[in-house]
């Protein structure tokens, strides 16, 4: 059951749009930086496969410029 954290960089001027999109995704928890164009993101999925699908979905978001992995954890099923 993977839990991963990322720093997400939006395209210029797209932070709010990206934040909205990430907020609606069930497996995502987001915290935007107050004073910079950066969003901290934690994902929680049931399986490794589900995690990979989610990551592909994240990378396809148009307002997202860069997804930088910070940490990854795994818990027993």
């Amino acid at each position: 059951m993977p839990i991963k954290s990322y720093l997400v960089h939006p395209h210029d001027g797209k932070k709010e749009e990206l934040l909205q999109e990430l907020s609606t995704m069930a497996s995502c928890e987001v915290v935007p930086a107050q004073n910079m164009e950066i969003i901290a993101l934690v994902t929680e999925t049931e399986t490794k496969q589900e995690e990979e699908v989610l990551k592909a979905r994240l990378e396809s978001i148009k307002s997202l410029k860069l997804l930088a992995l910070v940490s990854g954890f795994n818990t027993p099923q």
Binding site: I3, L7, V31, N35, G72, P76
Partner: protein
């Protein structure tokens, strides 16, 4: 079982988010995640929120601590604090976690036959008092000493000074702030006659240009740095990073200018040369408010035991000063410093532009310097020549590293030469302090004894036999550490250490006292901008831990000073603060009453007629100005600030064929100084788990060293091996290396040099010669 799994997942999610935020804090200077503070608060929690200053660093951010069932469970930036306006850095945000490390010291420990034995607090305090009596009887008053901290609260430092200087009658009182801001103090005293910045953080909201002198603000003062970045967004201000190493601050600045170690002295003089040459001097300001002096040169570096130095100031004329500066043309200084002529002129032009308000900021880079007093003087020279001082936005500003380096060490005066008001060398000052303390004036010796380095040398020599160390970790922080560690372990020494966690310093203790930490007791801190802030006790300390103040009071009573320490346990902090205020009861330093500190986010002294004084020496803001002019530098008898003629002189130890690199040491954003608290906060430890040595990529390539490879550093003091870091957090200039000092398992200070500024006695941790090899 399900609950346990859910808790674990919840914990891991929090850890994951905290890791992301910690990583962001280290990658993006000044980044803030205020929303996260609210999210971390338990849902439906009925929290009791109380205000206080953050316990880390000298910025003095206001925080709100949420408690529930006797435990601190949440912390957030205080939106009402004018310091941080609701923001927190990564350390502040995790600050309450430092209270709850698994290995908190909870009971006194006494070393018996080489093993620590748990004992009662009463028994431990009895032992300390009896050892002090015994030591004084056998070796004299100057054989006992106390070594405290800029993390001491104001009452802690006050009780220590009163006990040792007023009652016992020894000036063996020092604090670790000697290691971080003593040069700022002597800089202020020599230039202005009074300590601490004339301005305040509000200067940031007015300045057009910020020049950071060897000051990695993005990591060391992140909340203040975020205020600079905010002003750039709002007003397009310029940030110039003038440093020896490329850091997070450099990359966030508009301009990064690198200089060779120690040559900031020459560059500052070159800026003054340019100001004069280009007619940028504010002549009326200089004529009315400045005088010129020079002091002794070739002072040495304090490397020998019992080294002494006394400067002999001599008045000079403006013309003499101009002649002196002829040696500091940009062309000459460029060759020495590695700074281009263009960049020297670029900095000078901002200082010289009458339409630009300039703030100079510095911290350890200028203070931990064998000519620390001089470089402080030289930056003041720039501001004095241009008249850019004591006005909103025109501000030379020395930042401090600890929460109460100003409030306790500088204002209470917990240094060997100091009293709460004035110095021990002055008869009137001794009499004034003695009257308030209720002791004969003759009790206070008229001569200072040992500054910090010399105090540990005295312990090694055996001149000092008893040392009480509170809230600090000298067995990590002392330069040339091995000598002082070996000295402290010698037979016939008795060491008491008051702390909250085991450290390398508790390892040398004969008695370890568990201390109440931060909001586990009541107290006050004083930050970099002369702001005194109060915090109440919010939670109980663990086990038998008690505050450092109360430890001192209990020992004072056991030594027979009940009359001088009559305070009640329930009210002693208020009683001490009220007594302490008497020392500063004048228009130049009045401290705000306790009820004011309780009702708002602190107050800036001098607090006069119900108001903080934001800009000293400016008649518009400072009621102590009395000369009828716009400015009055009333710290000096003639009311004038001094422009000092101070030359460039080399460092105590410079690279040579045998030790060809410069070694520079410092801090990282994740850890509070020696890491004794922040390394017990999992997310911060995880973000920065161990020390490393930064190398320039060209040097690394030449030696075939990659990140993570073991590197051996050798100096004349010894050698140490640690992993390499290349193109990561910071990048040193070629032939220079940088090592952070937070890691007790990699004690970089074993190989640093104990040279110091002869005037301030502050060691230079930024410069010594080192050999670098792939291990």
């Amino acid at each position: 079982m399900q609950t346990t799994l859910t808790d674990r997942r919840s914990f891991l999610k929090k850890m994951a988010m905290a890791s992301a935020i910690a990583a962001a804090a280290s990658m993006f200077p000044g980044i803030m995640f205020a929303a996260e503070q609210e999210k971390g608060i338990p849902k439906n929690a009925n929290l009791d929120w109380k205000k206080g200053p953050c316990r880390f660093c000298g910025v003095g951010c206001g925080v709100l601590v949420g408690t529930e069932n006797g435990k601190a469970v949440a912390v957030k930036g205080d939106p009402n604090s004018p310091v941080n306006k609701g923001l927190c850095c990564v350390k502040g945000y995790h600050s309450i976690m430092a209270l709850y490390g698994k290995d908190r010291l909870t009971h006194p420990l006494v070393k018996k036959n080489g093993r620590y034995v748990k004992t009662s607090m009463d028994e431990a305090l009895d032992l300390i008092a009896s050892k002090m009596k015994e030591t004084i009887a056998e070796h004299g008053k100057d054989a006992v000493s106390i070594y405290g901290s800029g993390q001491w609260t104001i009452p802690d430092g006050y009780a220590a000074s009163k006990l040792f200087k007023g009652c016992i009658g020894t000036n063996n009182v020092e604090a670790n702030a000697r290691l971080c801001m003593a040069s700022a103090v002597t800089g202020f005293l020599t230039s202005f006659g009074l300590d601490e910045p004339m301005g305040c953080y509000e200067d940031i909201d007015h300045a057009d240009v910020f020049v950071l002198w060897g000051n990695n603000m993005a990591e060391m003062h992140p909340v203040l740095f975020s205020r600079l970045l905010d002003q750039r967004l709002k007003r397009g201000v310029k940030i110039i990073d003038f440093a020896t190493r490329t850091t997070r601050t450099s990359t966030a600045a508009d301009k990064s200018i690198l200089f060779l170690p120690q040559t900031d002295l020459a560059v500052a003089n070159a800026i003054c040369y340019e100001i004069i040459k280009n007619g940028w001097v504010n002549n009326s300001f200089v004529e009315k408010h400045c005088s010129f002096s020079k002091g002794l040169t070739n002072m040495g570096y304090g490397l020998e035991d019992n080294y002494t130095f006394t400067d002999k100031p001599e008045k000079i004329s403006f013309e003499d000063y101009k002649t002196f500066l002829e040696d500091y043309t940009p062309e000459k200084v460029s060759k020495l410093s590695g700074v281009s002529v263009r960049d020297i002129k670029y900095m000078a032009s901002y200082y010289g532009d009458p339409n630009k308000k300039v703030m100079s900021l510095w911290c350890m880079g200028m203070n931990q310097h064998t000519r620390g007093t001089w470089i402080n003087n030289l930056v003041y020279n720039i501001h004095l020549l241009t008249g850019k001082i004591s006005q909103p936005g025109n501000s030379p500003f020395s930042l401090t590293g600890q929460p109460s380096a100003c409030g306790t060490v500088r204002e209470v005066g917990t240094l060997t030469h100091k009293l709460p008001h004035g110095v021990v060398m002055n008869k009137e000052h001794r009499e004034f302090a003695a009257k308030i303390w209720g002791v004969p004036a003759e009790n206070i010796p008229s001569k200072p004894t040992y500054h910090t380095v010399e105090m540990f040398r005295a312990l090694d020599r055996g001149d000092i036999r008893f040392m009480w160390i509170q809230v600090t970790n000298p067995m990590v922080t002392m330069p040339k550490l091995k000598r002082y560690r070996d000295g402290a372990k010698k037979e016939g020494r008795f060491i008491v250490v008051s702390d909250v966690y085991p450290t390398p310093t508790t390892d040398i203790a004969d008695v370890i006292l568990p201390s109440a930490m931060w909001i586990e007791r009541e107290g006050m801190y004083g930050n970099s901008e002369r702001r005194t802030q109060y915090f109440e006790q919010m939670v109980d300390p663990p086990g038998e831990a008690i505050s450092d103040t109360w430890q001192l009071i209990e020992v004072a009573k056991r030594l027979g000073y009940e009359k001088q320490f009559p305070y009640k346990e329930e009210t002693h902090i208020e009683e001490i603060y009220t007594e302490y205020r008497k020392h500063h009861d004048n228009i130049k330093h009045n401290m705000a009453p306790l009820e004011v500190l309780k009702s708002q986010s602190g107050a800036i002294w001098p607090y006069v007629d119900g108001k903080s004084t934001k800009w000293r020496f400016n008649a518009k803001y400072d009621p102590a100005c009395s000369n009828g002019e716009d400015f009055h530098f009333y710290g000096k008898p003639d009311g004038k600030a001094i422009i000092w003629q101070r030359p460039y002189e080399p460092a105590a130890e410079e690279p040579d064929n045998e030790y060809p690199y410069w070694l520079n040491t410092g801090r990282v954003v994740e850890h509070w100084h020696t890491g004794s608290m922040t390394r017990r906060i999992p997310v911060l430890h995880q973000a920065m788990p161990h020390a490393y040595v930064e190398l320039h990529p060209d040097d690394a390539e030449r030696m075939q060293i990659k990140t993570g490879d073991a590197v051996r550093l050798t100096t004349r003091r010894g050698e140490i091996t640690l992993p390499a870091s290349i193109n990561e957090r910071g990048v040193p200039a070629p032939m220079q290396v940088f090592v952070p000092f937070f890691d007790e398992n990699i004690l970089i200070n074993d190989i640093t040099l104990d040279s110091f500024c002869p005037i301030s006695k502050e060691p230079d941790y930024k410069k010594c010669a080192v050999r670098v090899e792939k291990a």
